[in-house]
Every structure is written in structure tokens, then in C-alpha cells.
Symmetry: C2
Subunit: 415 residues, 2 copies
Amino acid sequence: MDSVKNIAKKAKNASILALKLSSEIKNNALSMVAKALEMNIDNIFIANQKDLDNAKLMLQNGEITQSAYNRLKLDDNKIRDMIQGVKDIALLPEPVNNIIWSKDIAEGITLKKVSCPIGVIGVIFEARPDVISQIVSLAIKSSNAVILKGGAEASETNIQIFNIINDTLNSINEFPKNMINLLFSREDVKDMLDADEYIDLIIPRGSNSLVKYIKSNTKIPVLGHSDGVCHIFIDEDADIEKTIKVCIDAKCQYPSACNSVETILIHKNIKDKIFDKLLTAFKNNSVKVNFEVDNWHKEYSDKIVSVKIVNNIDEAISHINKYGSGHTDCIMTENDENAEKFMLYVDSAGVYKNISTRFADGFRYGFGAEVGISTNKTHARGPVGLEGLTIYKYKLFGNGDIVEDFSSGKRKFYK
Amino acid sequence: MDSVKNIAKKAKNASILALKLSSEIKNNALSMVAKALEMNIDNIFIANQKDLDNAKLMLQNGEITQSAYNRLKLDDNKIRDMIQGVKDIALLPEPVNNIIWSKDIAEGITLKKVSCPIGVIGVIFEARPDVISQIVSLAIKSSNAVILKGGAEASETNIQIFNIINDTLNSINEFPKNMINLLFSREDVKDMLDADEYIDLIIPRGSNSLVKYIKSNTKIPVLGHSDGVCHIFIDEDADIEKTIKVCIDAKCQYPSACNSVETILIHKNIKDKIFDKLLTAFKNNSVKVNFEVDNWHKEYSDKIVSVKIVNNIDEAISHINKYGSGHTDCIMTENDENAEKFMLYVDSAGVYKNISTRFADGFRYGFGAEVGISTNKTHARGPVGLEGLTIYKYKLFGNGDIVEDFSSGKRKFYK
């Protein structure tokens, strides 16, 4: 097999050829991919069963968790969603080769800002085989080449899905070869992180430790989040019923998700009215409540929640900016001024009013799909859809123009 | 003096307080800064003279170059431009707290994408004292805190300009303290690069080796360019006269600038018509022409240019994508189809048709000012103005909404 460096080099070349891909070719490719996946559902299940058989042994030996096992398992719903996801991405607007703006900067000189693909995206993900088709579809739609490194536990399923998609793309004449690539071993990750000459962006989707390792070991920009320490602040003007409903959803609807809540901050003036009711609700939903917390940075990813009484909204905001991860934080209040203050000063990708933190998701935001959720302060923040896989270039059109004419004062730029 | 970590921590706190700054306060602050600089021009010249006296000795001892000495020297024009720059930035549109878009994602749920500052920007620059007022003005306008590390050669001038600006900002009650900060020593750079907990973006402005060192030694995103290896491709359909004019401007107007041309690629079919004329023009402008080049990646930053004959436009594009730095590359041609092809496939921040590469500059693009030129493929590319100092957050407004209602099918998102 090719070295990772060679694979990355070929992907870079493919990404240049991909610059010419029309919307028609790309959307047709996505339709063909969806059809091919549909026709091969049985083969995908057979491959997934092999991974599940292996994983069952690992589960029995305590080498993986039950939730990792669950994420690995594909069922009819997941496959249907996966295929529908590919079709939905074909329907999204064309993300590249759009003129963002155009202006004349001087007589006869026109500047255009034009959207374009980033180039080569490296995606490192753990045992979620449904990620492949989502990432590849977004990459096709945005004319990016992609190098995927999946978890070993899902290797049979990954290979099966990857081959179905790759064979389909290779059958399309106009489509560049080597646009999508799959790596397998843990050693390949290191080589990927070193290939900064060819890879333009790394997107890790996995555990905190994976993301932290990646951020510390590459010069390539990394898009993602290492933690999801989300908060709900119950303001003194909160509606009790709504608040309890939102807190339960934010913790229990999918406790291992990064957008589930970890810490509830309660304004001291509403404590007497809500405390017992909230505790009862958590108890009824088998949620363990922590009052004595030694690490407010901790992401439980489980049916556990920290609770703290705060003196005022300022203390809540400071707590969140200090201990949060900049992911998604919510205020429950009927007071618009307090909501506005909270949403201005909390420095997170998502700042919410009266709504569950679980809404932080590219599908729910209407992006069609997401490549992940970013807590970066540059490039892309929050759920990242197609837009996060694009950048722009400047096209400047002249007619023999020189800077010297402007420096000497002979010509002037428009104001 | 405070440790760098403490300075960065205070800057982070200032950046949170800065979120509330209105356009009025910020623009007023910029007017006051411009006025204070005007009133202190004599003091700035006195400080600059001290730096120049030191630099003269270093120049005589061969410790710095003549062009470094020239960059250090402030004259009436530079100071006037510097002060005008501050005033111009006040006139730019407000870059933060703008609603980029707003949409209802389901009944009663509104999502708003809102522009906001990045937070704390670290800027590391070499001996160009006029950089301080430009960077600080852009930071004020975009509500970012900033930590500046200037070159030791310009320390007297830097301190003088910094103190004038900082005293002005400190005299404004509504303005947070510690928004702008100046570091001095080389050791401080290392501490800055380690302060990823507080600093959100590093912008280096200086030599290749400085930028490469920074990129290799921090987890903080870095915005900038290490090389400026710009090309002009003379297509077979180029206009001879325009081409020679543009080539001379691109090389000679300011040879040490990153946007000056380093390599001229000539289509073999036009060689006979242009070669001698071009060589004569370069000779008349004291430019040395290299035909035997062993390193096409090299940035001369001097009156030296490499020349290569290519067989066709594809060879030119491949050469540029292989050896260029993704900065700015130009095609000289009267053939629109060739221009379109070149501008699509050349993977650079700026792709030009019939115009000098020297136009790659934030002022010339109409951005009012620039924090630098980026060859990154993420966040910001090309000349970076105010927009590159902003990001966005998502604000989600509900009324007690929970994801479970959507998962269960009870409610539906809008398509």
C-alpha cells in the first residue's frame, strides 16, 4: 500500500483537478452514491455484523463500553438516515465558485472575492461508521479531497461503505481519482499529522483525549472541540415548568452527546421555588446530582449533573466563561434584558434562551449535515456544515495596471 | 512587571468586557488616539531618533541590513499615513454584533448568526513601528484585546507610540483596562506561544524564519504567510507592452515586499517576441535575471528574478502550485479563456489577470487597513482586514423547546 505521504500528495493533486467540477457532476455523483448504498444495504449489514461480533468479545472483556458498542451498530433507521443524508446534501446550494462580492477598486480594476474549496481535509473519527458517508458527501459537494481514518472497531463496516462510495466515484469519468481515501492503522494518524505540506485541515471526531493529542501534534489547523461542558443558568425570572422540561431534555435525551448539559447554575432568588422540583425530576429520570464538585471542567457524558447556587447573573456568566468549553450554554429566563446580557457576555459558540442545549447540531440548525462542532475562535464555530469546508480566493482583473501609478499620485483608488 | 501569562489573563478579561463597547465609544476612542498621536509627533520623532542612533551602529557593524534600517525610520509621510490610518479605521462599518442571518428553524425557534470579536490577538512584529497604531486601531474597532511584541530595534519608538495610545484609552471611562499590551523581550515570545488558554490567534509579521518558528511552536492558530513567492505567467496571447510594464512594477516598485514577483514563466510561443525586450527592461532597472535556478521556492526580496520557459499554460499552473507559496500569482494574457483557466486552477490567495502582483494589499483592496497577508487555507486568506479579526456565535431563542419532541416526531423542523 502507498505511504500516507503519497496518499496525501495524490489527494492534493486530485483536489486541484476537483476545482473544475460542476454542480451537475457533483450532485449526480451524490445521487449515484445514494443509489449504490441502497443497493448494497445487505452487504453493509454483513460487514457491520462482523464488527459487532468482534466488539461483543471486547465488550465482554471490558475493552469497550456499551455506548461504544451501540454507536458501532447500524440498524435500519441509521442506514436510512445515512442514505437520506447523502440525498439531502445533493439538494443544498452550491458552496464553491460563488462570487461573494465584486467591486471596482479603481478605474478599470475589478476585485472579486470568490468561494473555493479548502483542498485536502483529513478526518479522524472513532467507531461511528455512519460518519463516512456524511463526511464524503460534504467533501464531494464542496469539491474537497478527503483522507479518512476510522476506528479499528468499525473497520469492516468502514471498508464496505468506503468501497461502495469509491467504486461509484471511480465509475464517473469526469470525477478525479483519489478524491476519497481511507486509512486504517493508528500509525497512519501520526503520518497524517505530519503531512502539513498536503493536508490543509484536520477534523477530529472523537474523545477528548483524541482531540487533545491531535491538537498537540500537528502544524495543520484543527477544527473541532475537545470538550462539551454545557451549562444551563436558571435566572431569577425563569419559568419553573419550562426550565424543568429543558433541564431534563438537555441531560437525558442523549447523555453522552457533547451538547448535553453538565452543570446547572441556579440564581439564589429562585432556589426555593425550583430546587425540590428539579431534584425530583432528575431523580425520576435516574440522574445523579453532584453538589460537591471538585472539577467544574469535567464532562460527565453520563446521567450525572453538577448543581451550583449563584448570587447573580454576573456570577453565572463568569462561572461559564471560566469553566465552560465554549460549546453551548443556555439561560432560562422570562426577562429579555437578562437574556440579552447573558447572550452577549457568554463567550460560547452557542448561547441559548429558553431552549435545550441539545439543539446544537448541524441538522437542527438547517445545515443539511455537519462535519462536527467547533469550539475554535477562528474559521468556523459551532456546528460546521458545508461553509466550514470552504474558503475564498481573490481574483483581480486589470489591463496592465501598475502600483507605481498610484504611489506617484498619477492615479487614485476609489474611496 | 507582570508575567506574560498574567498579562494574557487580564487581556482575556478585558476582551469579555469589550463585548459591550458601542460603535460610538470605539470610534470616539479612535479619534482621540489620532488626536493624541498628532499632538505628540515631536516626542515620537525623538524616540525614533534614539532607535535610529542605535541602529546606525548596528548597521555599521553589519548587524542589521540597510532595508531594516529604512523600515525603522519614521518620516513625516509615514507619521501622517499612520495618523490618517487611525482616522480611516474609525470610518469603516461596525464589524461586530451584526446579525449575519436570522431564520426560524421550527415554529417558535429562531436562530441568529451574529458577528463577534475573536477575543485576544497576539501580534509579533519586527522593526516597523508604524505597525502598532494600525494593529491597535483594528483591534479597537473590532473589540479585540491585543498583545503586541515588537522588535528590539524599535523599542523606544514602540514604547512612545504605545504609551500615547494606552494613556488615551485609559482616560476613557467606558473603555476596559488592559485592552492593549506591549511586550519587549525575546523570551516573552515563547511565553505568548504557550498561553493558548488566553490567546485566541497569533499574527506574526516579519521574516520567514520568525513565522516558521511560531507555526512550529504553538497550539494557537496562526494567521500569516511565511513566504511570498509570487509568479507572473506570460501567456502566448499576452500583450508585450503591458507585460513588460507589469513585470517591472511587480519586481522593482518595492523589491523587498512579499507581493513582489520572484519568478517569470514565459510561454515558449511568445518567447521570441518578448524575451530580449524583457531582459533589456530588467537590465535598465538593475534587476539580475536568473536562468539556472536550483531552488524555485526561494524568495529573493531583492532586485533578482528567476525566468523559465514553459511549454503551455498547464505547465505554468503546475509550476506555480508546486513551487509557489499560495500568495499572489498573475497571468498576462488577452485570452479570456486562458485567464479563466489560470485563475481557477492556481491555488493562491490572489490570482491576477494583467495587473501587477504588488496590488495584493489591504489598503489597495479597500479594506481600510490590514493586519497582514494570509496564505492560510482556513479562516482568512489574502490581505486580512477587520473581517479577519471577527468570528461569529449562534444565538438560539426558544420558549421551553426540547429535542425529544422532534426525535419522537411530535414536532418537525422547517425544511
